[in-house]
């Protein structure tokens, strides 16, 4: 594919604006740049360029996307249309508060629904993604301990199965990370947890269902151990889709949570964002939430306020507002009944695939939640075909591969695929994917090389990642 710069031809114009109605102001010369390089293309070139790029991309609308931990459910179109209404999209964030009552109303109502859904007492919509939410939530925890003069709580406990953002967020929030190993059932090892907690424990971060797609059965005991030691419990909401409407993090003992509106609440991922990562908390933490918060005055008008001991701002304005509109439309469409139904079907779909695959793709021997992790180690030992090879071969079949090599517990889970079908897929789609995975398994024994060289039907074959990192080319350096 040509780069947009390679389509550029001097002097060609695309978009045009109203001619200047006043005299031209010339910026003082010493401030002016000498040259500017940007592509010069006609509208037809632009349309063809991006249409070509889109044909070499794959979204949920293109096909099955069982990418574990990412909840690639269908993204309803009505949500997109609503978010782009002028009453939302043309409203400036610094307008006077009496002119933005509806925006605040929507944010307050979305917050209330999310609090009810998660069992929390306070909520901020300011974080822009899951990791941003983790960071915000951990700052709340830090502020809480500090406010109680409990200043020795410097450690965050993180299970070895946690997503990489968990430990990275803990360090950004000024904590040290202590890794907690998993037990034989792939849950938190309670003895290791008991040994790790103490007067220096600020919190334990947990995903439930875990990143293996299993419900953490010992959650009540875990909550007791952490709280008895004076620590708090943080909920990574990436996997809420399995249990929304069924069990609430707040009732499980979690004190702080983040949600991923771009996973559970059907807003599109956009090829890597924008997302939205609201943070909820129990009452004792609400005074630390980011500013501004939204409150209702006696006359029923909304206004901005600052929580008493706010941690401050985590982004410029109020978060990714347009994403909130989409999530709100989703919550209002499904409602209390539909939310639970969606969770149940996410779990149903995952268990169906698991049941149809586990004779050849080993996984944990219990019901999974919304996703399950299969172990390819034995297949690799027998045939040399790795998790990556299976994944790449799925591409040829028009299926987006599952998540590879996560979670990673060296020596325990190395070669893995994490499959999350989501609730919006039907049985036919699942059956096709099951057939593909079974066919590839058989093929591994017959023609390993074919799989090791997959994909075969795409515009490119496997890229040389080592060369990319060794001599980085990170921008187009040619003339245009």
């Amino acid at each position: 594919m040509k780069l947009i710069f390679e389509r550029s031809r001097k002097g060609v114009r695309c978009a045009t604006i109203r001619p200047l109605e006043v005299s031209t102001y010339s910026v003082e010369k010493k401030y002016l740049r000498k040259e500017l390089a940007l592509p010069e293309v006609a509208e037809v070139d632009l349309a063809r360029h991006y249409t070509e790029l889109s044909r070499n991309a794959f979204g949920v609308d293109s096909g099955f996307y069982p990418l574990g931990s990412c909840t690639m459910k269908y993204n309803p179109k009505i949500n997109e249309e609503l978010a782009s209404l002028p009453g939302f999209s043309r409203v400036h964030p610094r307008q006077e508060v009496d002119t933005v009552q509806d925006s605040l109303h929507l944010m307050a109502d979305l917050s209330a629904d999310l609090m009810e859904l998660t069992g929390m007492d306070g909520m901020t919509l300011q974080p822009c993604a899951g990791a941003h939410g983790e960071f915000t939530g951990l700052l709340l925890i830090a502020a809480y301990h500090e406010s109680r003069k409990d200043t020795k709580r410097t450690k965050i406990l993180v299970p070895d199965t946690a997503h990489g953002t968990n430990p990275a967020s803990a360090v950004m929030a000024g904590f040290e990370v202590v890794n907690i190993p998993s037990n034989a059932e792939k849950g938190v090892d309670l003895d290791a947890l008991r040994a790790a907690v103490g007067p220096d424990t600020a919190a334990l971060m947990l995903t439930n269902p875990t990143t293996l797609g299993l419900f953490e059965k010992n959650i009540e005991e875990i909550s007791k151990i952490v709280h008895d030691a004076g620590g708090l419990l943080y909920y990574d909401g990436a996997n809420l889709n399995a249990i929304m409407g069924v069990v609430r993090p707040g009732d499980m003992g979690f004190d702080v949570i983040h949600l991923n509106l771009h996973k559970t609440f059907s807003t599109p991922h956009g090829g890597g964002g924008p997302g939205s990562g609201p943070v909820g908390c129990k009452a004792m933490l609400a005074e630390f939430l980011p500013k501004p918060s939204i409150v209702k005055d006696k006359k029923g008008n909304y206004e901005f306020s600052c929580p008493k001991n706010s941690i401050g701002k985590v982004s410029t304005f109020y978060g990714n507002f347009a994403v909130m509109v989409k999530a709100f439309a989703y919550v209002r469409t499904l409602g209390s009944d539909g939310i639970k139904e969606a969770a149940e079907h996410a779990v149903l779909n995952a268990n169906y695939m698991k049941a149809k695959l586990e004779d050849i793709y080993p996984t944990e021997n219990r019901y999974c939640m919304h996703e399950f992790v299969v172990d390819i180690q034995k297949l690799k030992d027998q045939t040399g075909v790795s998790a990556k090879d299976i994944a790449k071969a799925m591409i040829d079949k028009g299926i987006h591969p599952p998540t590879m090599y996560f979670p990673h517990i060296p020596g325990v889970i190395d070669e893995s695929l994490m499959i999350e079908p989501t609730e919006t897929e039907n049985k036919e789609t699942l059956d096709e994917a099951i057939a593909v995975l079974r066919e590839l398994y058989d093929l591994a024994f017959k023609d390993a090389k074919y799989l090791q060289e997959a994909p075969h039907n795409m515009a490119i074959s496997r890229p040389d990642e080592v060369a990319a990192a060794r001599k980085p080319i990170v921008r187009f350096e040619g003339e245009y």
Binding site: S89, H163, G270, Y367
Partner: protein
């Protein structure tokens, strides 16, 4: 009522049989019964038609102004139809982060093109795929400059207040101090940074200086002087830029900055009550800042047949590889906004972008002149080097002026003091609107 499931009752039955349970809720056997929900206090589901009506009603009472003369971090520019149309293609919108390169060349290439355009505007050599917004970009950049014994970030007061606040939140728990250099203490003169005063504030503990171009007051900084002086004193400079102004202004790299950051919202993203916007970051390849840069970076390479292709690269910096040793926790960023921005820049092109920027600054200078015909004055009358934002001081209260403008369908500038307004002109503002406001200002 609508739940987006696509399964039939018969299929559900077959699937339950295959699993060996009688109903979906049986699969929740691992969840302690005592924890399971009672009914949620959330409205029951609705039809799509009802949801459309319900949420449209939420958008009705927000005031949509005909003409927006307010910036202060959110800029109302014209967005060509082709940008909205092409960017909403579902292959872009509904894709995940491009982990599977063979299936995601379109997304990867679009990020590579975005990186190239950010490098072109900033003069830098490497840009990332985006961070959340301009404030988090500034905070992450400041952290890139911190060293063991250099943990103070100097920030003059004439930058966006939200950036200072976000930097504080991001950095204060890591032993990093944000020191704000006040106008009242002489660090800002005629609206811009006083380089000599700044020099006195720098010492061996200073990690970097953060300045904005143009600054919060709309004024163009003598960035080159600041950079030269700072480097002389052994400290780095981060320049926070409104990238629209870079169509005309010298690039941060040309001025000598070590890192360029900012919010690229002006490139095709609607103001949308504050988000999603688009944080960008760029630096030089040979600086130690590159290996400390957060976020995704796309690199060019070849496949087995020697075809040019693109991949996520230098991932050794990132959380999924490094966990607690990562430079940042960022994972999902604002990729789709970056796509919109590169489409916008391609649609405007080199000449178009210059025209937009020239129109903005010309309208702003016309407005500043027209607004100061009566008792209103510019806050910094000795400094005419502002780009498309400027501050007026009036005997009349700022909020009164805002009210009068609102009656004319105009969102006035942002009141930043009882009698001070920060105005912004973009190419969307008509001369006739400026003249209407000038009438109001004449009597202010």
């Amino acid at each position: 009522m609508s739940n987006y499931l696509s399964i039939t009752e018969q299929e559900e039955k077959e699937m339950l049989e295959a699993i060996g349970v009688s109903k979906p809720s049986d699969l929740y056997a691992d969840i302690p019964i005592s924890l399971k929900n009672k009914a949620l206090k959330i409205a029951p589901g609705k039809s799509q038609q009802q949801v459309m009506e319900e949420i449209e009603a939420y958008a009705k009472e927000n005031v949509v102004f005909d003409s927006i003369m307010r910036g202060a971090g959110a800029y109302d520019h014209y967005v060509p139809s082709v940008v909205r149309y092409l960017s909403s293609r579902s292959e872009f919108l509904t894709a995940y982060t491009p982990y599977q390169a063979e299936m995601s060349q379109g997304i990867l290439q679009s990020i590579f093109e975005f990186q190239t355009m950010i490098c072109s505007l900033t003069g830098m050599e490497v840009a990332n795929a985006s961070v959340y917004d301009g404030s988090s970009a500034a905070a992450e950049a400041a952290f890139m400059c911190v060293e063991k014994n250099k943990k103070v970030i100097l920030v003059p007061e004439n930058v966006k207040p939200e950036v200072i606040e976000t930097m504080r939140t991001y950095l204060s728990r890591r032993g990093i101090e944000i020191k704000v250099l006040k106008e009242s203490e002489g660090y800002i003169k005629d609206g811009k940074v006083d380089t000599q005063m700044l020099e006195k504030a720098i010492n061996e503990n200073t990690a970097c200086v953060y300045i904005e171009q143009p600054n919060y007051y709309g004024i163009i900084e003598d960035a080159e002087f600041v950079c030269d002086m700072a480097h002389h004193k052994g400290t780095k400079v981060i320049m926070g830029c409104n990238p629209m102004t870079l169509a005309l202004l010298r690039s941060p790299a040309d001025c000598g900055a070590d890192i360029a950051v900012g919010d690229a919202q002006p490139f095709g993203l609607s103001v949308s009550f504050g988000g999603p916007y688009l944080g960008f970051m760029a630096t030089r390849v040979n600086k130690d800042t590159m290996r400390r840069m957060p976020g995704r970076i796309v690199g060019q390479t070849t496949d087995g047949q020697g075809n040019r292709c693109f991949v996520l690269t230098l991932q050794g910096r990132e959380q999924h590889i490094r966990r607690e040793k990562a430079m940042s926790n960022i994972c999902s960023n604002q990729a789709h906004c970056a796509l919109v921005a590169s489409m916008y820049l391609s649609a405007m092109g080199k000449e178009g972008l210059k025209e937009v920027a020239t129109t903005c600054t010309s309208l702003a200078h016309y407005a500043a002149q027209q607004f100061t015909q009566g008792k209103a004055t510019l806050k910094y009358p000795n400094n005419n080097d502002f780009f498309h934002e400027f501050i007026t001081v009036t005997p009349t209260k700022a909020e009164k002026i805002v009210e009068k403008c609102a009656k004319e369908g105009v969102l006035a500038g942002l009141p930043i003091g009882p009698n001070e307004i920060l105005w912004c002109m973009t190419e969307k503002v008509r001369k006739s609107d400026i003249d209407k406001v000038a009438e109001i200002m004449r009597r202010a």
